[in-house]
Amino acid sequence: MNNDPQSGSRAVAGSMEASSAEFLKRAAACPSDLSVWTKLYAASQTMLSAVRTQRVVPALTEICANLVGCEELAIVEIERGSNGVHFLSAEGLTPAHREVLIQNARQLESQIDPGNVRILVAEEGDPDNLGSLGISALVPLWKDERSSCAMLLFQLLPQRNGFDAEDREILQLLTIYAGPCLRSQKRG
């Protein structure tokens, strides 16, 4: 396992640059001005810039606000064993919201499955009752022997009627890249 944060960061950035170039190519070939490819390109460029400036958390907040329409989100890191919760971000969250997350840390931790974005809507079901915590989407960022980390999206802006396929693609991009970016920033 490579523990050099600089090297890890470079590898993630390299992979993101390649994806970003592909998104731009597809966006150019697409008849729609604002296709999902354009959105993925914008999101990947924002993440690339965040890696360079070490501002990954604000970048995630910005992407979710501008591309998904969600301004209420938390990035939580849950320690293995103690279930202590660290809020790396808690945008638009009330103290009550935070308290609910702290109290349900164990349940949350068990639901963080790397690479598996969960959108909690009726048709996909919510057997773990995460919706009762006010969570509308869970984007895993990492899970290892020390901790688990995820981005939790709460209420969407009133003009949104729930998540669509493009939102899922954007969140899928974030689950792939945001975790490694955030970890390399923490280690660096």
């Binding site: 008849p31 729609s32 001005d33 490819w37 354009t38 992407i63 501008n66 301004e71 009133p158």
Partner: protein, 142 residues
């Protein structure tokens, strides 16, 4: 002659999204600004044909920037579209009171944006080519 579009937003994601969308069309020239103050300066310097203006921004918010832009003779008739996550009726009303011509809520919807641009700038000559059957169906994630 290219129609000039001024995008004013403190979000680099939003600016990039708009730039990428507009730059597909050779008939549009895009200019950007990162806050309301810079937006007013760029509007005065560039005399754009259309301004897309965010509301929540540092230094000067979009409402104040819109009012400021409207004070200048050369910019009184330039269409201003507020593009913001603040879609509450009170905010929409404030936007129109400040002199905006249209109000779009984020996240930007492709159809709405194109409709607004067509409304104020007229149809783009590339549109017929871009929407040809040969290029249809590619807007799909595999």
């Amino acid at each position: 002659m290219k129609a000039k579009v001024l995008l004013v937003d403190d979000s680099s994601t939003a600016l990039l999204l708009g730039e990428t969308a507009f730059k597909r069309h050779t008939t549009y020239q895009v200019v950007t600004a990162r806050d309301g103050e810079e937006g007013v300066q760029k509007a005065l310097a560039e005399l754009p044909d259309l301004i897309l203006l965010d509301v929540v921004m540092p230094k000067m918010d979009g409402f104040a920037a819109c009012r400021e832009i409207r004070k200048h003779d050369g910019l009184r008739r330039v269409p201003i579209v507020m593009v913001t996550s603040r879609g509450e009726p009170a905010n929409v009303q404030t936007g129109y009171q400040c002199g905006c011509n249209a109000y779009l809520t984020k996240p930007i919807n492709a159809g709405e944006l194109l409709e607004i641009v067509r409304l104020f700038l007229g149809p783009d000559e590339q549109e017929s080519h871009a929407s040809s059957p040969s290029s249809a169906g590619e807007d799909k994630v595999e």
